[in-house]
Symmetry: C2
Subunit: 425 residues, 2 copies
């Protein structure tokens, strides 16, 4: 018989139990932080009408979505959780209380060109606050504080949250008297500036049509350095008077003021976070010792969340962790180790078939005390049973034989130290 190729599809993650346990622990940590901030969990569908997913998205997304057809309807898998959230809010606006604080931890799909560390099926862990008609800047600070708590809890070493503001950038570029096209191209160039040399970046700006003076000013802007207070002061003395710049500066000051207690939140005006969605605050998170892996948690403010789906105005701000990629790189650089091979704390082994009943009773008693207990029913010799215990690296083992049943006592063996404690059956 010809067997089908069962190899895991490229770009898909299929972890062994011990790595899955490590993955789930990170996922649970993120969920716990969302919940600690009172964010409600929702679980949106993975499939939508194609027209919904593409209402805003442009070229690359269209190429990357997984499409299918069911009956007359063109469907596709979601490529992020922001569109599903926008649809959710548009559909359920009358049933929700705003500001709506919401946590989404789920899988999304992008048929990207396959390469190491890039996933086609991956988890996003999003915390968003949605306002109806209004949403104070304090919520921008809140979603950043959530990211800060997540990476503190994950204990991956020092990290920096780099923060900027799209209105500020827009206002700055307006002050340079660029055309609309030049502004968009320059924004995109800044978004890529970190990946190229200074000379290449200059060359890009020249090609966009900026003269040397404007190029110099762009450099000065994105390279503003020092404390947050220094940067805010330097921005103020630039004396740029257009509304976007002033509004962006106000927002950036307010967010950084609210986050003054977090000394790892740094203004960095190179942060753009792509051309889609964001309209105000933008941020990303870098592990200080591993800048090479790029941002591990990012997000920003988007003021037109539901515009494609309803006439009501909704504003949002959200922070997201790309969990699958994060897990992959943490494993690669050794910051995540495989976890336990079994969730069981105790393995109960009936010595023979006639002790299965007693073993089950003991297992149920221990479960009633909140323990996680596995029972091994295989009729193997005791040596092979202990081999299994070692293979799954279970912390404690209890063998229940005739003597144990008669005496009503059993030994609970610590598999690390070898110590055995007598317990009542």
């Amino acid at each position: 018989m010809q067997r089908p190729n069962t190899a895991t599809l490229s770009g898909f993650m299929d972890l062994t139990p011990e790595y899955q346990a490590a993955f789930d622990k990170i996922k649970q940590t993120i969920a716990n932080v969302h919940s600690a901030y009172g964010f409600s969990s929702i679980d949106t569908p993975l499939i939508y009408r194609k027209e919904i997913l593409l209402a805003k998205a442009g070229g690359d997304t269209e190429k990357q979505i997984y499409e299918m057809t069911r009956g007359e309807t063109d469907l596709a898998l979601r490529f992020d959780q922001t569109v599903p959230l926008a649809v959710y809010v548009a559909n359920k606006q009358s049933e929700l209380a705003f500001p709506f604080k919401v946590s989404q931890i789920g899988k999304v799909y992008r048929g990207e060109r396959s390469q190491k560390g890039r996933f086609r099926e991956f988890y996003q862990c999003d915390a968003d606050v949605i306002g109806r008609g209004e949403l104070p800047i304090a919520y921008d600070a809140e979603v950043i504080a959530i990211l800060n708590d997540i990476f503190t809890e994950l204990d991956l070493g020092k990290f920096t949250i780099r923060i900027a503001n799209r209105k500020l950038l827009l206002g700055f570029l307006e002050s340079l008297d660029l055309t609309d096209g030049q502004r968009v191209a320059t924004t995109s160039a800044i978004d890529h500036a970190e990946k190229i040399s200074g000379d290449e970046f200059k060359e890009m700006l020249r090609e966009i049509g900026l003269d040397e003076e404007r190029i110099l000013r762009v450099f000065e802007f994105i390279e503003l350095d020092g404390t947050n207070a220094d940067i805010l002061r330097n921005l103020t003395v630039m004396n740029i008077t257009n509304d976007d710049f002033k509004q962006g500066l106000r927002e950036l000051r307010e967010v950084t003021d609210l986050l003054a207690a977090y000394d790892n939140v740094k203004i960095d005006l190179m942060i753009v976070r792509g051309l889609d969605y964001y309209t105000g605050t933008v941020f990303e998170t870098i592990l200080d010792k591993h800048p090479e892996i790029g941002s591990v948690g990012s997000g920003g403010r988007y003021d037109n969340l539901c515009d494609n789906y309803t006439s009501e105005k909704f504003q949002g701000v959200g922070g997201s962790v790309g969990l699958s990629r994060l897990f992959y790189v943490l494993t690669e650089i050794g910051l995540v180790k495989p976890s336990v091979k079994t969730s069981a704390e105790i393995l109960v082994i009936p010595f023979g078939e006639s002790q299965i009943g007693a073993a089950n009773l003991l297992a149920n008693k221990l479960r009633g005390e909140g323990k996680r207990v596995m029972v091994l029913y295989d009729g193997w010799k005791i040596g092979k049973k202990m081999e299994f215990a070692n293979k799954i690296a279970v912390p404690f083992v209890a063998v229940i034989g005739e003597n144990e049943v008669t005496s009503g006592r059993y030994g609970l063996k610590n598999m690390v130290t070898g110590e055995e404690v007598q317990e009542v059956l």
Copy 2:
């Protein structure tokens, strides 16, 4: 602008936060029981090569799968978690310890004809034990005990786990000297017998070609009643001597013996659980007061798990809860009520903008004590803020104004009783 149709696709579930919280609670209860039995969690991909998904499946499944193409590869969404598990075991056999006890809680997809209470995207919650080359019947009893624990924990009233054995049925039908085709057709007829009248069932058997005597014997078999001991005794005195019957009877006796402590586990020889997969023990769970909703948890033994994917022999036995459908019917019959509107236990309200810092400090202090705390940053009048607190039905509210900051004390108001307790800021 023409807006796309955002209505949730038919057959997809998109719950408001308070129903989502109730759903998640059930999901967590199931996960906790799996974990209490030491089952490891895995999280398999949702997309597979089409040839993998269809290696075993037949007509209906092929029509129902969601297919897509990426590059040269025909892909489809998984329609259950058994095929993904079989692939997982085949791929990772050298990295796993057997018996492999595994929990899968995830979404699956079937493009069924849309009707009330039938889902196209739905959760399955599976606990399976996989053996390599051998798997004692005690594991059949274990996965049934897990289902029993789940429905006990869910506290949905009395329930009955109905249990049968496919080898026993096969052996019984062999004893009637039927052709292979008649055996398969009769098995299928028994699988549907509960949904039709006795006369209709008889007519089906006649059409299959059974004579009146054989029809009578089929009736006698599936209607065996009384205690489990009664039924086992009646089966024994039938004196059917083929191997399948004897083996099936041994297995059924062993499983029910191991589950003797559970008086809600009843032998019921009408249970078939479809024509695919199962080769031994089969079972389903009925809520005693709501038999009309059908089985809420079912499963069985399948002895050829990975045959389509590897030459190594693997046996499995698993129990599954179809969570989405269960949740839907429990909501319909009033057994599940919407849960809390917010996960927050305490809402902290800064009275004015200048108290945001103090409110954040308090919120973080309370979070440090393990509390789930939401902060409301909107610059509304206090009346509107309290309206929001009532709307989300948060249990406790703390308003932080100038007085609170000055005195270092604040009132924690119980929103149900109206009581207010003074606490230190």
